[in-house]
Symmetry: C2
Subunit: 103 residues, 2 copies
DNA sequence: TAAACATATGAATATTTGTTCATATGTGGA
DNA sequence: TCCACATATGAACAAATATTCATATGTTTA
């Protein structure tokens, strides 16, 4: 095999890097739980804490990661902040992964 | 929102954990490069080193991760070990992710 | 306006993880 | 059989990351 030829088939370095970054975000069960919860309902930070049974700080930190990745968005409602999915594409991706592990 | 109701919509704890583990594997650009290279050709460890421009040890360690996750398989050929994709599903998953980042 | 509440943030810590270095293992050719 | 080659592996190290703790920020309501 001519390895120079094989190199030409690889995507751009930046694409590969970005793709890894995207999957890194899904690579944590806390964040996956948050996303699954948001598939069904828009939820406040406090509600997410109850659902995940985790501290407010831990949840907030992870929400920031998801927010930076533009996977979730938020709106303010009274004293609360309501989070929701930013992108329906995310569900497709996670469903695909779920399908894989259930083979 | 009744958070007890929301909890019922979450997948099993073990599923969520396994899903995170799967994405963790994709969350590294070295492993993604290996997978993309194997989409096109079956390759020996040495060839992968050339293509990725990485040391034999680093590549071998990552191949083990991919092997443990059953994403790649291997066969022996003379002194070499030839790696190939274990599962065509993997390409679908990465393509989906690639589609997302190119939005 | 003061107090109570909801959320965000920064520092510290512990754990995980990717690469390197050194070396072990195993196979084919001379 | 002995050597050269290809790959695997273990320990060490550095970097990244998730959670906790303490506290800051900002908003509502009494």
């Amino acid at each position: 095999m001519n390895t120079e030829t094989a190199k030409k088939f690889l995507p751009e370095e930046t694409s590969l890097y970005d793709l890894a970054e995207l999957y890194k975000i899904f690579g944590d069960s806390t964040r996956i739980k948050i996303l699954y919860a948001l598939f069904e309902f828009d939820l406040s930070v406090g509600e997410l804490c109850e659902i995940l049974n985790m501290t407010q700080s831990a949840v907030s930190h992870q929400l920031r990661v998801l927010k930076n990745a533009k996977l979730v968005k938020y709106r303010k409602l009274g004293k609360s902040v309501i989070y929701s999915l930013a992108d329906s594409h995310v569900k497709t991706i996670l469903d695909q992964g779920m399908e894989h592990i259930n083979e």
